[in-house]
Symmetry: C2
Subunit: 247 residues, 2 copies
């Protein structure tokens, strides 16, 4: 059986206090088990996870870093405010936000919002995914699964891809431990970051520009078993250690 | 319109000299523009990109590294043979192969092959993708697009995902440069690694274990414009530099 992937078309431009799940349900008929991927930027906008640049007073630290990486100091202040672990300051700011996700500028963004406004990532994306799941259940009666996505860069490879920052109704990782290969041997590659694989392809459909679509639905995707330990702990994260040591 | 994603089911277990594209065409009716994702491991097997462990004489370097990272020295020798730039030796070997892809153990693998055999990545995956594309055209008359996938880990995040190592009939990167956002401003995120987004989701469908599927087809995917510079040049690759500097 094939998996079908639908853009949710004809959604309005969203503003603060809009009911994002309700608008999606008006445009799309969910079935039990569907996986809804939602762009964190648009979700953040409806939830008011944004700030006016004019209302931000940058600290000395923000000014120093802004100078180094050529950003607006108020933008950098917003990045620092949502950062839990600052990994590098230059040539770009790379940091870990509270939920565990590591991204350039902590995912703070000024695309697709009004001039002078910046958006930050949902502070509790797991809770956000659960909230959207429950809201869709309430509106439609359907038990769906939800992934909140962000777009970010990678090591070694150019270009951004979609990644998951929150999920509900599934585990982040599919765990093959104990499974065997074609020849009966226990597999060495045992953990697959399934939520990121869905987030990646949903990002292709979402696009980035003015004709972007902030919601994508996967239908007929099987379930899997695993766990939610999607992020390396800092002490086991070799890249983080290496980048922090970089002169 | 939705995008449909099909596993190519009921394929045989493949051996050296099997005609992989022909077997796929026996089980799947291609349409013009379909995107076929192919697992590099199975493609390598049909092409004989593998070696008997017993035929490998490890060098002193291979023995030294094997000792450090707890691998078989012959396995390490195969990794070194396909490596163009060794990034780290320990706690695992991370290196860049000739095509530009960076992976743990240079993508050398012993899953889903007979005992005592190891598989290496296709040495020219761009050529392989083109060859599969042409073969399907010859067999079916359909112009399809092809991605060769590998499975590998990432920085910061646990778990493997699918990535592209070769492609034909498309560009690796979708380039939004010049596009504007909802409010008419030129986008800051301008490059999207689309081939990796397809490879990632195809990997979810392929699976890793004994019921794995080595070929997945995407139907109705739109075309995009961009370029093929998927890999950072070493001198612009911060993570590579940082990992090489790590004590």
């Amino acid at each position: 059986m094939s998996i079908e992937v639908f853009p949710v078309n004809d959604l309005p431009i969203f503003h603060e206090d809009d009911d994002f799940p309700e608008e999606i349900c008006k445009k799309f008929d969910f079935e039990e088990g569907d996986i809804l991927c939602v762009a964190s930027s648009v979700y953040s906008k409806t939830k008011g996870f944004m700030k006016k640049m004019a209302d931000i007073s940058p600290s000395e630290d923000a000014k120093r870093i802004a100078e180094k990486c050529g950003e607006d100091p108020r933008f950098v202040q917003m990045v620092l405010d949502t950062t839990e672990d600052l990994i590098i300051e230059h040539p770009f700011i790379l940091s870990q936000v509270k939920c565990g996700h590591v991204g350039v500028r902590a995912g703070v963004d000024n695309s697709n919002v009004e001039e002078g406004i910046i958006i930050y990532l949902p502070p509790d994306p797991m809770g956000s995914a659960e909230e959207i799941k429950n809201r869709v259940k309430g509106l439609t009666g359907s038990d769906i699964r939800v992934i909140i996505t962000d777009t970010c860069g990678r090591s070694f490879r150019r270009g951004q891809t979609g990644v998951a920052i929150g999920w509900a109704g599934m585990t982040a990782i599919r765990d093959f431990r104990g499974d065997t290969d074609l020849f009966g041997r226990v597999l060495e590659i045992t953990e697959e970051a399934v939520v990121d694989e869905f987030a990646a392809f949903s990002n292709f459909i979402m696009g980035e520009s003015n004709n972007g679509v902030p919601a994508v639905v996967f239908r007929n995707a099987p379930e899997w078993k695993g766990h939610d330990e999607l992020y390396f702990r800092p002490e086991e994260d070799l890249t983080r250690k290496a980048l922090k040591n970089l002169k």
